[in-house]
């Protein structure tokens, strides 16, 4: 089976500053988790994959197409939806209006009603704030809207950049369950997350991003425990993992 998402020797950055130095990864049939120290290129990687910034070298394949040079809007149209880190969304639009914009992609229009129902089922709390401007929402509520917007785009692959950033533990669990539910409905995930438990819960295939490179990888089936990941973070006893 060919991979839904396949990234090969990817390089990109901002202006003349290179941030990614040859990253390769693939989803296979699994959910992918990315972690690593701050400022080492995780967000940059996701932005390059979704077409917000251009790759300077390497290749990105999604759903059987070479999308390396495609603009973001065409990649969205293929079913890759990216929830950016700490998105403000559209501060003056209400939740209702924001979700309506989520159904912008042509391929998502026929399933707009179904996707809306699904989003509201996963995040029932949104209904209570339906006509409230997004800027008046709490951080957690805003994160729920951001994920719902992506769900309205009818994703095949959902990219989440630190979805639990700044959330209280209870809300984290709630969000984790919600994202798991999305995944169980057949949407593949690529998740960047600092919270290791959260990541272990959702992803089967982990990559450590360090200095714009993949420094280590835990493949599905290999033992993944908190301890091993902490060791990867701190660079001790890497053992069989490269």
């Amino acid at each position: 089976m060919s991979d839904l998402l396949e990234v090969e020797a990817l390089e990109s950055g901002y202006g003349r500053i290179g941030i990614l130095h040859g990253i390769s990864l693939a989803t296979g049939g699994h959910n992918v988790g990315l972690f690593g120290p701050n400022g080492h290129g995780k967000t940059t990687l996701l932005r390059t994959i979704s077409g917000v910034i251009r790759a300077t070298r390497g290749k990105i394949r999604f759903a059987g197409e070479d999308v390396t040079a495609w603009p973001a809007r065409r990649i969205v149209e293929l079913g890759l939806l990216h929830v950016p880190q700490g998105s403000r969304l559209f501060p003056d639009l209400t939740i209702r209006e924001t979700l309506r914009l989520g159904a912008w992609p042509r391929r998502a229009r026929p399933r707009e009603a179904r996707n809306l129902e699904r989003a509201v089922a996963i995040f029932p709390r949104l209904k209570e704030r339906w006509n409230q401007p997004v800027k008046t929402l709490s951080g957690g509520e805003r994160q729920m809207v951001a994920i719902s917007v992506a769900l309205m785009g009818d994703p095949k692959l959902l990219i989440l950049d630190e979805p639990t950033l700044g959330l209280a533990p209870r809300l984290k669990d709630e969000l984790c369950a919600a994202i798991r539910q999305v995944s169980d409905e057949g949407v593949r995930l690529v998740v960047v997350e600092q919270d290791v438990e959260f990541l272990l819960d959702l992803a089967d295939h982990l990559y450590l991003v360090n200095h714009g490179e993949i420094a280590a990888e835990i493949r599905p089936g290999e033992s993944m425990n908190h301890q091993a990941i902490m060791e990867m973070y701190f660079g001790r006893e890497l053992g069989p993992l490269t």
């Binding site: 559209f90 501060p91 639009l93 209006e97 800027k135």
Partner: protein, 294 residues
């Protein structure tokens, strides 16, 4: 007609013209974040193209064909101007300043172009409605009444478009977060073009209003542009309802001031009031703190 009636009529009439001009300016500011100094000359072009299409000496088309055609052509010109003058500079930190220069330059070129093509001889286009209507004891031009009636309808439609349709929603959104727009699959440059085209068509409509009751000249757009700037600064550029309200308030202010203080001192008085308003409310009378339409 009573004094009050005359003042109200004049206020509604001037307010309509100001609102029609100011909304386009606000639309471009809220979506693209630049001031369009071509807005006045787009109004001029609307009037001259309408003349070209409708005048018996020129093409002599019927009004109901000529006027929509003029609006469409000016919208297309607006679209092209945006692609030439603004799109290449989007993303630069100094785009606001660059756009001031490019749109001022284009405005001057187009003004002189109008003079070259159509000459200095004053022209006028037929009024929207030719007759006068008896209102109380005096007669009022039906053209003016038509403008007073059409403007709220057109601006109401613009408001509905921005607030009730998905594309209108997208125009409001692009003002607030461009990255997020890309990530839901919007074509941001196309939305910019749409905003500019729509604004241009509104300016052209103002030009058609204008050319139906005053003589047209290549310079006719300059004063309305200045007024539109005053209106959006006064009303706040955060949305379109602010400038619309401000347009009618300024229309009323001028009508009252012209009657009681006189024509000569009215502009000075208006600017004095504007300065005081800006000292008290720097964001404008009706503005909220963030940028965004509707």
């Amino acid at each position: 007609m009573t004094v009050l009636g005359q003042i109200l009529l004049s206020a509604l009439f001037q307010g309509s013209l100001y609102a029609m001009m100011a909304v386009g300016l606000a639309l471009v500011w809220t979506t693209i974040g630049v001031f369009n100094f071509c807005h006045g000359v787009l109004m001029t072009l609307g009037a001259y193209l309408a003349w070209q299409f409708v005048d018996p000496e020129a093409l002599g088309l019927p009004m109901f064909v000529a006027l929509p055609l003029a609006l469409l052509v000016v919208a297309a010109i607006g679209f092209a101007l945006q692609a030439l003058l603004i799109r290449p500079f989007i993303g630069r930190g100094d785009v606001v300043l660059v756009a001031v220069i490019t749109t001022l330059a284009a405005s001057s070129i187009l003004k002189n172009g109008t003079l070259l093509v159509w000459g200095p001889r004053p022209k006028s286009i037929p009024p929207l409605a030719p007759d006068t209507i008896a209102l109380g004891a005096s007669n009022v031009s039906a053209h003016q009444l038509a403008i007073i009636a059409i403007t709220p309808v057109v601006l109401g439609l613009v408001w509905l478009f921005l607030n009730r349709t998905r594309v209108g929603l997208a125009l409001r959104a692009v003002a607030q977060n461009e990255d997020a727009c890309q990530l839901v699959g919007m074509n941001v440059t196309a939305l910019y073009a749409l905003a500019f085209g729509l604004a241009a068509a509104l300016a052209a409509l103002a030009g058609i209003f204008f050319g139906g009751f005053k003589f047209m000249s290549p310079d006719m757009g300059t004063e309305p542009l200045t007024k539109a700037l005053v209106v959006v600064i006064f009303g706040g550029i955060a949305n379109i309802t602010g400038p619309i309200l401000a347009a009618y308030i300024i229309g009323l202010f001028e009508a009252v001031s012209i009657y009681y203080v006189g024509f000569y001192w009215t502009p000075a008085l208006l600017f004095a009031v504007l300065i005081v308003v800006l000292m008290v409310r720097p964001e404008g009378l009706f503005a909220r703190s963030s940028r965004g339409l509707a």
